[in-house]
Every structure is written in structure tokens, then in C-alpha cells.
Symmetry: C2
Subunit: 166 residues, 2 copies
Amino acid sequence: MKPLSVAHPFIRLFGRYLRDQGLPVTQQRAAVAEVVFSSDAHLSVDDMERELRERGERIGKATIYRTLDLLVRSRLVEEHDFGEGFKRYEHRLSQSPLHEHLICLECGKVLEFESAELYSVESRVRREYGFVPVRRRLEIYGLCAECDAAGVQLPNEGLTCPIETV
Amino acid sequence: MKPLSVAHPFIRLFGRYLRDQGLPVTQQRAAVAEVVFSSDAHLSVDDMERELRERGERIGKATIYRTLDLLVRSRLVEEHDFGEGFKRYEHRLSQSPLHEHLICLECGKVLEFESAELYSVESRVRREYGFVPVRRRLEIYGLCAECDAAGVQLPNEGLTCPIETV
DNA sequence: CTCAGTGCAAACCGTTTGCAGAACG
DNA sequence: CGTTCTGCAAACGGTTTGCACTGAG
């Protein structure tokens, strides 16, 4: 088995978190953290399992889920559900901690962008409804530049537009 | 069994859609549509099953799911996933067809609001990234006015704030 | 009669959990 | 050495599907 890697200093943050919580820093936890922190993609659990196997680590899915639970709790990793039927995970380091997602309906690519406008939305919501924002999620689904340039047309079944005419 | 209801004229839109698609308007489909259109809430499939039972309809879950699939396809109903582990459904009639959601983390209440700001976000995204927006989703999670007034505090486990200090 | 729709129950699939054995501190 | 973690496999729960039966035209 591979020795504990120090390639990613961010893993040490996770180690610190675990120590603070009185939890052991096991090789499996370090390996999962390494995979998550060494990618800027939005990884599924299957992605991680595959990557771990390629690295020669033999780690069960249950352990990956359990470690992700810790990573999410530590606030170092964010959980996303893009409506694919499973979750994706993204670390919150070395990139804007608050960003939104553009998801291509054709190729599934995920882009990130920041939206300062949301701050005014949140303060308006607080003012108008007395609602106290804690966390938000803005996802825009559509066609990425490449798929659009390739002339992809999205199917548009259903009523032509009866709602607007009701 | 109850005769086909005409209480909600919107159901006729669904009937029109089904006819256009060459699909029969069955009593079950009408019953499910009636339940969905007669509520302005965000219903789960269990909610609908319960409501149908109370109305004396005996309709299997599978039929509810199959009918919801048709309703969503017809664009008369929208599917939501607020991260509860199951989906919720909301009809798109008699309310702003484009609205966003405020979800209370304490009591689960869902409020709706409109955000004109999102239009400029979408056009910016198109301009800057060449991404063509089709559909979006903005959800703000937090505390509704009532829960906030009641002094509810949300737990804040995890690292104090190491990310901002990295 | 024919054919799609329905209801039941089983299958599905991502995720969670129970438990015996291994590893950590 | 006790406690926690891990891996396996079984359980879970919302959703989907296969299939025999029903009902509408």
C-alpha cells in the first residue's frame, strides 16, 4: 500500500479537521481525500472508485461514502446533485468558494462562474420575505459553446406554449 | 369510481396534450392531473397517493409515476428535487411560470419568488462563455421568517473557516 | 377483439447499514 | 488492548419495469 501522500497540502487541512474531531487519519481517508483534492472536476463516487483502483488502492465504496460524509461535514468538499441520479463532489479549495454551475445538457460538461447579482437577490429576499439565506444553488442548464457551435438542437417535445396563452 | 372531473379547466389542457399525442385520457390520468392542478403546493408522490386515496381513488404508485412523466413532458408540471431524497411536483399554471424557490432548512416550507436579476446573469453567461441557457434553477436555503423569529439556530459544524484563510 | 393502460410485485440503483475482522492510537 | 475503521454483503427507499389482466373503442 502507498505511503500517506503529502502531495496535496490541502489533505493536511482534512487531517487537521479529523484530529480536531478526535478521528483517526487512516490511509483510506487520506487516499479518498487525495483523489478529491487532486481533481478540479465534479467527481462521482464511481469516478473516485475507478481513480483509486488505478492508483492501486483497494478501497470499498462504503468507505468512500463514509469519507465523503466527513469531507462534506468539514466543509472542504461540496456535494452536488445535477439531476443525474447520483451525487457529484467538488473540493472547495484553490477556486472561488462561492460559484455557480453551467451544465451542458448535451455533453454533460460543467462550467463554473461567479454571480455577484445573487448577493442582491439574497438581500432582497431577506428584506421582502424576512427569509434568512444560508446557502444557495444556481444552476443554469443549456448548451455549452462547443455543442452550440456544433449545431446541436435540443428536443422540444410537449405543448407548443399553451401556458403563456392561458 | 368518480366521473371525469371538469373542476379544473387546466386538466383539459392535459387532455388536449394527450389527444395530440394520440394517447387516451383515462380516469387515472385525469385523477392524478386533478390532484396536481388543484394544489399550489410542491407535492411528493406520497402526497398524491394519500390525496387520491382520500378522494376514494385507488391508483397504484406506478401509474402516478407514469402520469407524472406525461405531465412533465407536456410542460404543464415541473419536477423539483430539493435534496430530500425524492422528487416534488408543481403545476406551472396560475402562477408565474418562471420562479425560484426559498426553502426553509428548519420547517421545510417552500416559498416562491421571482428574480429579474437572473435574466442579466443569463445574458452575461451567454456573452462571456458562449453558453446558451435553456433552463435554470435557483434555490436559496435558509430560515423562513417564522423560524427565524422563533430564534432557530442552525448547527454549524466543521472547520471554523479555514478555506478563507488558506 | 385488439391494444394500450393499469396494478402488482419484482427489479433497479445509488446510497446506507450491520457485522466480523483489521487497524489505529 | 479497547476503540474505531474497513470491507463485504445485505438492506434501504424512491423510482422503474415486466407481465398478466382490465377496459375502452
